[in-house]
Symmetry: C2
Subunit: 399 residues, 2 copies
Amino acid sequence: MRINEKPAILTGKPMFNETLPVVQPPIKPHIENILADCRRILESGMITNFEYVRKLEKAAAEYIGVKRCLATANCTSALMLALKALKIKDGEVLIPSFTFPATAHAIYWTDLRIRLVDCDPKEFNMDINDLQEKITDNAKVIMPVHVFGNPCAIEEITEVAEDNSLKVVYDSAHGFGAKYRGKQIGQFGDAEVFSGSPTKAFTTVEGGIVSTNDSEIARSVDIGRNYGHSGNYNCETPGLSARMSELHAAVGLNQLPHVDSDVKKRNKIATLYKHRLEELPGLKFQEINRDCVSTYKDFSILVDKNEFGLNRDELATALEKENIMTRKYFYPPLNMQDCYPELRAEESAYPNTSKIANNILCLPMFSELTGIQAKGITEAVKGIHEYAREINATLHGKR
Amino acid sequence: MRINEKPAILTGKPMFNETLPVVQPPIKPHIENILADCRRILESGMITNFEYVRKLEKAAAEYIGVKRCLATANCTSALMLALKALKIKDGEVLIPSFTFPATAHAIYWTDLRIRLVDCDPKEFNMDINDLQEKITDNAKVIMPVHVFGNPCAIEEITEVAEDNSLKVVYDSAHGFGAKYRGKQIGQFGDAEVFSGSPTKAFTTVEGGIVSTNDSEIARSVDIGRNYGHSGNYNCETPGLSARMSELHAAVGLNQLPHVDSDVKKRNKIATLYKHRLEELPGLKFQEINRDCVSTYKDFSILVDKNEFGLNRDELATALEKENIMTRKYFYPPLNMQDCYPELRAEESAYPNTSKIANNILCLPMFSELTGIQAKGITEAVKGIHEYAREINATLHGKR
């Protein structure tokens, strides 16, 4: 680790000799077991939506404590099928403005419409007051997001939904392994929809999982992922091709028993980050919902230039020179995405979302990140802060 | 092989001791190479939409003789993205009534509408005369299907499209490896869309490939499969999550050099089937388009009960007792699917489709099917024909 030296952006030696990625799939310890399963699958000739997928669904349902889990090709398809399973022909789905675009895209491909809700400035999840204000007669579904794996205010959302007779489907893309007051995320709403893409704390290479206690929704997703028929090729509903492959299920199955310990490791890293960075001025952290466990799918910091000396983009540039990858995430938020001109609004319409999206930076976070690496990252941030004035001059050509 | 014995349905010994599947993915000879690649992929940590996918796209484009190939999670997503890439807001897509439901489903999820065209009674592909009759001012796209891998009447379709200023996207789900008058299928129309699901002559476990010479369409599909952004997370268009995983790409890459020899093997089996079955009354075969090579994704027979003595369903039941799996495919056709009441029509509205769909049966067809097995299947069909009267009595309780 570099000591008493200038940041790399000021010609110092980089903190890391090799590039430290911002995420890494949590599969390395399980490669031999995964490959043994891949051999069995390929030799059997049954390579998609078969025994390994069934085993994964059963194991995931037991882990979550829910009646059914349905594995799909990816999370967006799963969200589309979960929304379709509600059998609502027309109306609005309320989603946070601070989320990944896929939350909105899933609605775009259905007959439903998108309505944005601002986020809470501390927990980054859907703001309950703004949610209540955005509900009109057109509202049909609330689709909250457990942002970065931080469980939503589920009790409050449930109450709002009940008061207004709305369905609730959680976009739990980041949430596999999170806990809400002792209960596993995945048990709530009409359904929850997880992502298994490689950036997640639990991965199936590509994939999605719908968890639900509603047997009608389960059946609809089950047939919907296979074109909409139940085996006789006469489709009850126009479905998708969204089966999970057996190879992908094997990757998930081998990792599933280790999700809790992986989430623990991530929380340890988050604690280390916060402990070592909180002494710096101008950095804030996402607050985790009371009595909840986040997956820390991402560890993010909010950067206030006035106090820290550099803004989010400048810090990211300086960290890149240290061979530390970061991610501006979610940026731009949904109200600023080019593909949704109809959702475009002044930043003041979504004040919390704007403040977070403009200042957020995600630091490296994966279950195999070591304490030494995490400390190195915090040292790099500290060094960059110390030299903020000089870095500003270098970046902006003022000498 | 069984000689001089009654069919199994009449208490004879089954033709095969073990169940002969109707399809089998063409991967067995390549398992060791696939597993070696899987190890490299898992160890690298780059497990989706990366180097193996790029290699597969490059190799597929070279094989087909087209500028760009884009690999996706599956064929339905690829069709959705290819249709979206045409940037047509509203209008009809003309598709054959005799096709797999996914052809229609891909349209259902977009803003476009489905219009059905009857098929040719001999080649089973879209009928050119009916196509011309179905074109109105609402028509925007023709989406023909190379049914069972038999190339469409491409010149005629191209002419109709040009005369009416229509776009053409081929649903080439069955067509990877087929040839149209010396040219590889995949070069035609605005784009062609292949399936890599396990039932195909070329498989990527799950997957789709869009082939096109149009750089705008290529770019649209490229970003569309990754949420609609080109790397900066600001989406130009609401996309899907439809990346192909590296593991799936490795399966395809290892099989690609063997597609031509696999297609040859399948054509040999088809010739054997036809040669040995044509002496039986009441069986007809799909005619392959002149100077074309079919993939024989499926080998189908049309069963005329009046001449053969049993209908399609009865023959299927009798073959199952011989441990020979078959498939009624495509049945029901699109005009009879429960999920499309608005497309429902009397059978007489699609006379050729109805006749084929009601009488078609696909026999086992995969690249590792041996000549001895294929002969056994034809012997079983012959035996069943010989005992047709007795089987009828057994099935329908008339003694």
